[in-house]
Subunit: 181 residues, 3 copies
């Protein structure tokens, strides 16, 4: 779908972190995602940022609000994808999505495995809620960039397929792939 | 299980497509699968072909009928594996199977990723219903061949393990692997 | 968590096999796992060994008992991961776990695929129950070692994250990776 005039596509950035949400430390990861997406996209877009603690109800509520009320075409989460008790981002994502896209998690883990053997501990996934694509990223800024670089070439076409906004990338930074039908 | 005399193994080919089922275009994909399997197998087999629209009830019903009534040892589906609203083949497959085989989807996505970054959008999977192995393939003829070539070496042994027909391949085209126990 | 003085970490080894549990043949696989873990770990640990038939209730009961009563930090299963009717170890594992770790199965299948195309038939997975990490391995001794070598570098850190015992490896045999936080 080509963008309607005057309406900026929205992208949600959701940081899931007990400590950042309590102000124990600054949310570097959410900022890193916004900066990376600014580099990637030539389409003018609006960032909708949220910071919530690692409890499943808060994460689900934020995802629903970003998808249904803010009408984000894409939501990128950071944090809460590990095996620890408070890591519940993948469960919250699965709970709010109607379709899961296992290829995103597989590909991000495969890429992270080139750097650290503990990449297999990440449970990150992706899925679709209505016209919104939701992608989980890990919490560490370095891994965030590796993972986004690995999957973003498929993101604009996926958002097309689910009826979201038309996103154009800066091909000098990252090349979106849209198959000729 | 060695084949009983006089009984041909059946293989179901199920095309899931709104447009092909309405006659908007010809089902090239279903034909491509049958042609590929004719090349692969030296065992004499019977194709049972079905074409249904992309709604979950129709796909589930066709899968059950091919497995339970036609007693197909293998069902190969094409179409409906993407992220769009009407893509529900993986959900229908999971709904009728008692066991899922995630390795098929992982391997097919890994192979398709060598050609297009949008391979991660495919949600194709495989599973077992009774004595029937069900495998989802993408909708595009080119991807169909890539995916079948990647997983078929494991198919005859899998069908052995679930009590289906004994399938022999033409080793000049594709080599089935049966581990020595 | 550093180990409390005088308390040895426990590791459960659970063989799921109808025939071995009936005494039809010796359980070579369970012994192979214990021998491999003895090589890997310099931490003094206690093996808690169980042998059960391939029925889901028995496997679930054994997993719960090893996790909740024996307080094993790690349980490694062998057998029952294929597509056959009696292969139910992954289902039992999923039923007792609160969190699944799909990266383990993906990585073990990817490694086994370097040896045999039938690796995609393995449905092995991993998950967390309380402070216990549960990992499914295939039944064949050769594949067991390949799979353990592939995933064990991530195991000690995973057990740290879920609050289990502190495990140290013999780095000449296998190098555990613990990211600097």
């Amino acid at each position: 779908m080509k963008p309607e005039k005057g309406i900026k596509p929205k992208i949600g950035v959701l940081t899931c972190s007990d400590r950042a949400s309590q102000g124990v430390y600054e949310d570097v990861s959410g900022k890193a995602i916004i900066a990376t997406l600014r580099e990637y996209l030539v389409t003018d877009w609006e960032a909708v940022y949220r910071l919530v603690p690692d409890d499943q109800e808060s994460v689900e509520k934020a995802l629903k609000q970003l998808a249904d009320e803010e009408e984000c075409s894409l939501i990128v989460t950071t944090g809460g994808t590990g095996p620890a008790l408070r890591d519940i981002t993948p469960e919250a994502t699965e709970a709010v999505c109607t379709k899961m896209l296992p290829g995103f998690g597989e590909q991000m883990r495969a890429v992270s495995l080139q750097y650290v053997p503990t990449a297999i501990l990440s449970r990150q996934t992706a899925g679709v809620r209505g016209k919104t694509l939701i992608i989980n990223l890990p919490g560490k800024p370095k891994s965030i960039r590796e993972c986004l670089d690995a999957v973003f070439p498929a993101v604009p076409y996926c958002v097309d397929l689910i009826g979201g906004a038309y996103l154009e990338t800066n091909e000098a930074v990252i090349k979106a792939f849209r198959p000729k039908v």
